[in-house]
């Protein structure tokens, strides 16, 4: 079974993010890592390989980014890695990235494509379904359990009404939700080997794609400062009445 995992390199959750004066750009500390849900997808892919045999290839697309993400996947045990690396992907929107990933997946041919539910930087959650649509594959979003059968996959996902169990023919694209698999901590030899890995790179032209027009960003704004805490004191009944009044009239949440 040939498995692809679509991975994204994102700023580490502890990286400092600063919006430039005037909001024209945003500066992010250069601490990069594999996106949280993608790491779960890699783990699920490795387990699928352990159960059914085959290979796992980590794939990323960007302008000079992605190496750290696929290296982490290699350290965890992925068999190979591929990058779409093209300056034209700098500032590209989700659809342009999805087109690049889909073109590479089509060229390689996979029985199963896994991706994270969403990236921890933009949290768009678009890549998985877009790639599925471009490849004409069945797609299940937010998978919490995966069991492979011959030519099909039984997957679970959480809904408001409870757990939904679906069966999809393969090839298919699944996006990983928290709980699907606890990512392993890589072995040190794997890490050091992955550190030196130079994954093969392809350009958009090599995939027969045109350079996308970058998405113009109107501006950036930092999160609002937390308003001061208001402490209510007095008799419980009075305080409760005051609290309800504040929630209704000031916070307007009731």
């Amino acid at each position: 079974m040939k498995i692809a995992v679509l991975v994204k390199e994102v700023p580490d959750l502890e990286a400092l993010v600063k919006v430039a004066e005037g909001g024209a750009s945003v500066e992010v500390e250069k601490k990069r890592c594999l996106s949280f849900f993608d790491e779960i997808a890699v783990e699920a892919a490795l387990r699928a390989k352990a159960a059914r045999g085959g290979s796992v290839v980590a794939i990323s697309a960007g302008a000079g980014t992605g190496v750290e993400a696929v290296r982490r996947a290699l350290a965890m045990g992925a068999d190979g890695a591929l990058l779409v690396d093209d300056p034209a992907l700098g500032g590209a929107d989700s659809l342009a990235v999805a087109r690049a990933l889909a073109a590479l997946c089509r060229r390689e041919g996979f029985d199963l494509v896994l991706a994270g539910r969403q990236a921890t930087d933009d949290e768009a959650g678009l890549i998985g379904p877009m790639v599925a649509e471009l490849l004409g594959l069945p797609c299940v979003i937010g998978v919490t359990a995966l069991e492979l059968e011959d030519g099909a996959a039984r997957v679970s996902r959480e809904t408001d009404r409870g757990t939904e169990v679906l069966r999809t023919p393969l090839p298919a694209l699944l996006t990983a939700e928290k709980g699907l698999a606890e990512p392993r901590v890589p072995q040190v030899m794997g890490l050091m080997k992955a550190m030196r890995a130079q994954p093969p790179k392809v350009t958009l032209a090599e995939l027969g794609l045109e350079a996308p027009a970058p998405t113009p960003v109107a501006g950036y704004r930092g999160p609002a400062k937390r308003p001061p805490v208001k402490l209510l004191e007095g008799e419980p009944a009075t305080v409760a009445a005051e609290l309800v009044k504040s929630l209704r009239e000031e916070a307007r949440v009731l």
Partner: protein
């Protein structure tokens, strides 16, 4: 002069830090409270392949340079001093002489499993009347046909009660002091070899620690770890700098955790309407701690670099161990003050740092011994 780590060292540090964050930090209070190393954590961590770090690749190791090793020790102790102690005993003191002098059979039976974490190793120096004063070692090794008979009691043995094998320091003649010391490998299950009384430590809790008793323990000739009898002290000299530097690196790691907690608390805790970090006296503590940490870091890595260059920085290794450990003690103390009464509650980290820091005072020589040694080296330099 170049103070930068190599790209590979930086990557390695990040990898170890990530592993420590994921596996060890969430368990640190549990390790301290139970005074035991959780078996599942030991298995998972040792399964990652770090234990062979300083050994050649043919033994499953990484042949890492001393700076890389120190990065590992520092990061590990940033997570848990107790857990770090257990791991480092298997990686360094507990296996070094076996690696240097063990027969192929002994290496196969003890060293390789220890580097995989399947066997627990330890090193026995201390006795009730000797520790830093190794010349007073009384555990006796008598030559007999085909081997040696060992008799004595070792104390303060980290991993001792759980160890599968021990490198034991013994004298062939107490009257000859330092000139009659040797290392012997003794395996669990050897007749007359047993754990004695357990010690309950104030800090650095986790690995079992206590006595190991040797009552006429026979070991075959090949268990003498050394080319010839009487060279134990010379062999010890091979790793003493590394051991002292390692203790400094552990102190540095632990101090970083304490400092980070103290800093966070100073930024968040409010008093008289503003964060306590806005007050000069708290800022002075932060400045002093940060300065001590940077100085300790420079000393530890400078010594590690010298060892890697093949130098023999005896004095500097002792100084780095002493400085980093004292800095760690000061940081742990100041952080309990920044925390106020919360620093005294077991629900918060500082009380543990305060206890753990004290443990690092003794390993690799007490600071009284180290000061005497460094002072003597300097006085005699002319």
């Amino acid at each position: 002069m170049d103070f930068r780590l190599t790209e590979e060292q930086e990557f390695f540090r990040t990898a170890v830090a990530d592993t420590v964050d994921r596996l060890i930090l969430p368990r640190v209070a549990e390790i301290d409270e139970a005074d035991a190393i959780p078996a599942d954590l030991w298995r998972e961590f040792t399964g990652l392949g770090y234990l062979g770090l300083r050994y050649p690749e043919e033994l499953g190791g990484m042949n890492a340079d001393p700076v890389t090793c120190m990065l590992f020790y520092e990061e590990l102790a940033r997570g848990s001093v107790g857990f770090a102690q257990a791991v480092i005993m298997n990686m360094l003191m507990g296996t070094h002489f076996l690696y240097r002098f063990g027969s192929p059979a002994l290496r196969e039976r003890c060293l390789l499993p220890a580097l995989r974490g399947d066997k627990i190793a330890t090193m026995c120096f201390t006795e009730d009347q000797s520790g830093s004063d190794l010349a007073s070692t009384r555990t006796l090794a008598q030559k007999v046909d085909g081997g040696w008979v060992l008799t004595g009691t070792k104390n303060w043995i980290t991993n001792g009660p759980t160890a599968d094998f021990a490198t034991v320091l013994a004298t062939t003649d107490p009257a000859k002091g330092m000139k009659a010391l040797n290392f012997f490998l003794v395996e669990k299950g050897t007749a007359g070899f047993r754990p004695g009384q357990l010690l309950h430590k104030l800090g650095a809790r986790g690995p079992a620690c206590g006595e190991l008793v040797l009552e006429e323990v026979f070991v075959p000739e090949e268990n003498l770890l050394g080319e010839e009898p009487g060279k134990g002290v010379a062999y010890l000299g091979e790793i003493l700098n590394e051991v002292r530097c390692m203790t400094g690196a552990m102190a540095l790691g632990m101090a970083r955790t304490a400092y980070a907690d103290g800093l966070e608390y100073a930024r968040k805790r409010q008093a008289f309407g503003k964060p306590i970090g806005e007050y000069q006296l708290i800022r002075a503590k932060i400045a002093q701690m940060a300065t001590d940490l940077e100085a300790a870091r420079l000393m530890v890595y400078w010594v590690a670099w010298m060892i890697g260059q093949g130098q023999n920085p005896r004095k500097e290794a002792a100084m780095a161990k002493m400085f980093a450990t004292e800095a760690c003690l000061k940081v742990a103390d100041e952080v309990t003050r920044i925390y106020g009464a919360n620093g005294f509650a077991s629900e918060y980290g500082p009380q543990r740092y305060f206890r753990d820091a004290r443990f690092l005072l003794y390993g690799g020589g007490t600071h009284e011994i180290i000061q005497d040694f460094v002072g003597r080296e300097i006085i005699r330099e002319r």
